[in-house]
């Protein structure tokens, strides 16, 4: 499902660099990438999602080599196949909860909006306890409710790969558990691969497999060492 090989990535005008010899995840696998702030977790997630393109190396997701695709094709592939739960909810305040969930369908021609999509959005919202909040704006929601909206938005297009960046960062224990339950439930039901990025060891403890990104060949000016290997 996910396969990274000989990956090198560096931000422009930055000394931060990330190198990975090999990393792979199977279809339906649920895992947690853990590491301290600045270790490259989010960067790695963006590389897997095809948001960033590495300078060298290959990234495969859902059996498609993202590094071989043009940016536009990669973008269309991402929105149709990869669900993203971004940091700090990243909801649009001026849209209702329903419109936030439907956002992927409104911003890309790769997805076609129809009545069934709307119905699915309402169904997802019902599943996570947001049914009555659909007309509201994000500013009228609690932190936990916002993150559940973000999860619904990530899975509305029925992705085969679900990437969640610090999904429990701003939540209390109850809401954190509820959000992780929703992500794991979706992954199990749809046999979708789930990657949760977190700096929280409690989150890691929920997953059968986990990876410490800091140990996985991250090269920074403070840690100029070289290669690593992870499977």
């Amino acid at each position: 499902m996910i396969e990274l090989r000989d990956l090198q990535f560096q931000y422009a005008q930055s000394e931060f660099a990330l190198r990975i010899k090999e990393l792979s995840l199977a279809q339906g696998q649920q895992t947690c990438w853990i590491g301290p702030s600045g270790s490259g977790k989010t960067t790695l997630l963006h590389l897997v999602a095809g948001i960033y393109a590495p300078q060298t190396g290959r990234v495969k997701a859902c059996d498609v080599e993202l590094t071989a695709l043009q940016e536009a094709t990669r973008r269309d592939f991402r929105i149709a196949n990869i669900g993203l739960v971004l940091q700090d909810f990243a909801l649009l305040d001026y849209l209702s909860v329903l419109d936030n969930i439907l956002l992927p369908y409104r911003i890309s021609r790769a997805l076609q909006m129809d009545a069934s999509v709307r119905s699915r959005a309402e169904h997802l919202a019902t599943d996570v306890g947001l049914r009555d909040l659909l007309p509201r704006r994000p500013t009228q929601l609690s932190q936990g409710e916002k993150q559940r909206v973000a999860v619904c938005r990530a899975i509305i297009a029925d992705p085969k790969l679900l990437l969640a960046d610090e999904p429990t960062a701003n939540l209390d224990a109850t809401n954190a558990a509820r959000v992780l339950d929703a992500l794991e439930q979706y992954s199990t039901d749809r046999d979708a691969t789930l990657v949760v990025v977190s700096h929280d060891r409690d989150v890691m403890s929920r997953f059968a497999s986990s990876t410490d990104v800091a140990e996985m060949c991250v090269q920074t000016p403070m840690n100029p060492a070289g290669d690593g290997h992870h499977g």
């Binding site: 948001i51 409104r106 911003i107 890309s108």
Partner: protein, 376 residues
Amino acid sequence: MGDSLYLAWQYLRYHRLTTAVLVSAIALIMYLPAALQVIVASAEVHFRSRADSTPVVVGPRGSALELVLSAVYFDKPSDAIMRLTELRRIEEQNLGMVIPLHTRYTARDSQIVGTTVDYLNLRRMRLSGGSIWTMHGECVVGAQVAERLDISVGDKIPVSSSTTFVLDSPPLRLRVAGILAVNETPDDDVIFVGLETAWIIEGLGHGHAAGAAHGSPDAKLYTDITKENVNSFHFHGDRGDFPISAVIVVPATEKDQTILLGQYFSPDATVQIARPRVVMDSLLERIVMVRSYMIATIAVVSLVTLLTMTLVFVLSVRLRRAELVTMWKIGCSRHKIAMILGSQIAIILAAGAAIATLLTVATNGYGPQLVRLIVL
């Protein structure tokens, strides 16, 4: 495109105050020059049509513009007077139709114009009710006066007491004999009376009958002229010395007009002659010049406003960076983001243009009234 418009609309709806300010600014930028153009054009039509139907005006010496504004547009009561003798002198030459105007008094904030039926015929005025005056103390009111004062035929209008100087007699109260149909000219806001009634208001004529100031509970406050006392009203002195404010002359031919114009060149003359069309053309030239200055000023202000709006837009895009990055990360193209932002601009421009168009159409529709309200 539909989704871009939808997202843009949702954003603008959410930030409705900012949107309202931007739309208002655009609407004003578009509306002001258009409105100015419409009002000036309407003023030109209004002034010219009225001036064209009033070939020549003779009046007391002084400002030709004031004479024309007073005699043709009834802009305000005029204290300047000329003698009836002058009217008779013109009449004796048989150069055309001669119509006296007496515009010294008001009633209930409307000007009283003492004249003859010839004036109503000249302006092609029709009655919507009642009849023309048939005796002293009767009046015919313009449509706007009737509406504003909510009066009908048979009602009475007291002449403003501050304008009358009748000793031993309370102010005259005019009986409404008829109401004129709307004709979208200054005549709508005028109370027309016979010339002799105007002189009675002035105190040059009076009655001696016992009932002149009786017959109603407020008889002590007003003088009513009735069928019973009308015959007692009379005038003292030489009528040739009686005052009038101006004379409208409608020469029968171009030659008659030229003859008439030639009679008032003397610097010693106590009266002047004016051609309203020429006077108004001169005034309109100045108005057009002022309009040009105003349009130039509006253009500069509009440019500054547009630059400010551009700055506001650029700053708002920077403030929305996190939101736009979110859309891009999810899978939105930069082209789509540009379309969403462009749709916002398009909606604001379209809304501003729509409001400006509606306002301009309304201004155009109410052009004559606006001109009368603003200019006269």
